[in-house]
Symmetry: C2
């Protein structure tokens, strides 16, 4: 089964819940229009639209975790919506903070309404993420479990903030160690996937041990996913990734292979390239050769494989029949083999 | 009793809880240093400091409401900390959105760390507000009440966002009707004071009727407070307010008296002044005369008095002895008579 075919039914269920949780545009067009625009539900003129969103891997993972314990996605639907809204909130603010003008082939919200209004609209998405999760109680989840989930949602939000803080501060530095980089992606990328698995298990009625396992499963998948993404950013096939050759080198992105290579650059030539210009095909190719010479590709690929192996080990430790693990195993496999 | 003397013990109790809830600066100096700086607990170099904060009227009101029902502030201490953190989160973002460079006689956070990091630090304060409130469960408040409080916290955050959205959009318009203005301050100012009373009563164990009354009490006090503030911004004594004569006129702030006057400006002279320059003492004085000629002062003062009377009526409807109402009545009286 392809990843898209696997994810589609979960994405539909989450979208239906999101539509239930996010106020209709009519309730306050000028304010909620901004949120609907970012979510792909409205045009720049705040007219109805249906722009394809991302794959919603995080919320699908949450629903799969819940399904494993409850035989039903229903108890985790509110959590799935909360995960997407938390992610969307962070995208709206990150786009402002990073000055990014395009997302999902459309102008980012701040380029449409200005930074002040977009900061404020992002805050609204954060509040809606909380309100979404609180609806779990209406779906019959015990109050204690909802409170626990709410606590974890906000600890996750804090981890996202610290990850983003590190990411922004790294941009101003010449060198970032691989350990520092991993601390950053643990917050910025892995924390939300870890929470997704954890809260899905929690809503599905899992015990503490299994809930913890789903946290660790999500974290391992998140770290591996980011490392594969970093490899693709330098060595990905432009025909498949849709990005130019060596995209992350051009953007001087200090991804893990670069962090590794810069701290193992004995001649100093790579550091000099990153301090100065990386414009032009020749310089990008030279930088890639220097990165390869440090063995960065193998180091990062080995680390990613180790996290992927850890994820599969956790799945196997669950003592569940192979048939019931199918969707989770497919998700883990697909993420590990991604080339896009 | 003076307002300061009344509020000080409550402010101390809230501060102690805030210190318990907000992570120590050592946990991540570069990130939490920003939060400690904004809270007045650290210098610009992130060294310990003890800068006087505001009066903490909102959290004091919350604690007074709780005390009335529980004979103790303890069940509402977490809520009081959450209220202050929600307020601080909104201040950090509002300062960026409004371009304000000074707060409490210090550079605002964004002028110190830049807008991108300050947006992200504000998000961290929002997450901490949620985590603060969730600690109510540890203080023995029933899970259902904590969930209800959490829901109201986030509905309040959404109201704040809509209020701020309106405030920013009004700046780009020539005319704002008094009704539009009141819709704005209902979100931006009154919603948080309403929540403060409501959540204090809720945590103190009040029934639904009394909890609702405290919401309405806070809303009435909040609306009256803002209207008095608007009057002081034009007619306040500079020796007492610490602001220049007609401060709000100079800043072309479309406060309620101005919104009223501009929509009752038959000659169009006031509208012309607000469309063009309001620089210089003569123009400010002329604008004030024109505002006075529409009867704006009396209209706004009458509205404020009506909300103050409503607040006292609600207090009297509580069926509580006069002795037990003392602090709440003093708070309501002091806010109504404020000249500072």
């Amino acid at each position: 089964m392809s990843l898209t075919a696997l994810l589609t039914p979960y994405a539909h269920a989450t979208l239906a819940e999101l539509r239930r949780v996010v106020p209709k545009i009519e309730e306050h067009p000028a304010f909620y229009g901004q949120l609907h625009y970012h979510l792909g539900w409205a045009t720049a003129e705040y007219q109805p639209a249906d722009i394809p969103s991302g794959k919603r891997i995080r919320s699908a993972f949450c629903l799969m975790a819940c399904e494993l314990f409850a035989d039903d996605v229903q108890p985790a639907l509110s959590a799935a919506a909360a995960i997407e809204l938390l992610h969307d909130f962070s995208l709206v603010h990150d786009d402002i903070e990073d000055g990014d003008r395009t997302r999902r082939h459309r102008p980012t919200l701040w380029t449409l309404v200005g930074q002040p209004q977009a900061i404020n609209a992002g805050d609204g998405l954060f509040a809606l993420a909380q309100l979404a999760l609180l609806k779990s109680a209406e779906a019959g989840v015990a109050a204690e479990r909802v409170l626990k989930a709410q606590k974890r949602l906000n600890e996750t939000a804090l981890a996202l903030c610290i990850g983003q803080h590190l990411d922004m501060s790294f941009e101003k530095r010449d060198l970032v160690t691989p350990d520092e980089y991993i601390e950053m992606i643990r917050g910025k990328t892995a924390a939300l996937l870890a929470f997704s698995g954890e809260v899905g298990a929690l809503m599905g009625g899992a015990n503490e041990t299994d809930t913890r396992k789903f946290y660790e499963l999500g974290e391992a998948m998140g770290l591996a996913f980011q490392m594969r993404d970093d490899l693709l950013g330098i060595w990905g096939d432009p025909a498949i990734t849709g990005k130019p050759v060596g995209a992350d080198i051009r953007a001087k992105k200090k991804s893990l292979p670069v962090a590794y290579a810069l701290t193992h650059d004995e001649s100093g030539e790579l550091q000099a390239l990153y301090r100065n210009s990386l414009k032009g095909k020749a310089k990008v190719e030279r930088a890639r050769k220097l990165i390869e010479a440090t063995g960065a590709y193998e180091v990062v690929a080995t680390r990613a494989s180790a996290y992927e192996a850890k994820a599969l080990e956790i799945l196997e430790s669950l003592n569940v029949s192979e048939a019931r693990l199918l969707s989770l195993r497919t998700l883990a496999d697909e993420l590990a083999q991604r080339t896009y």
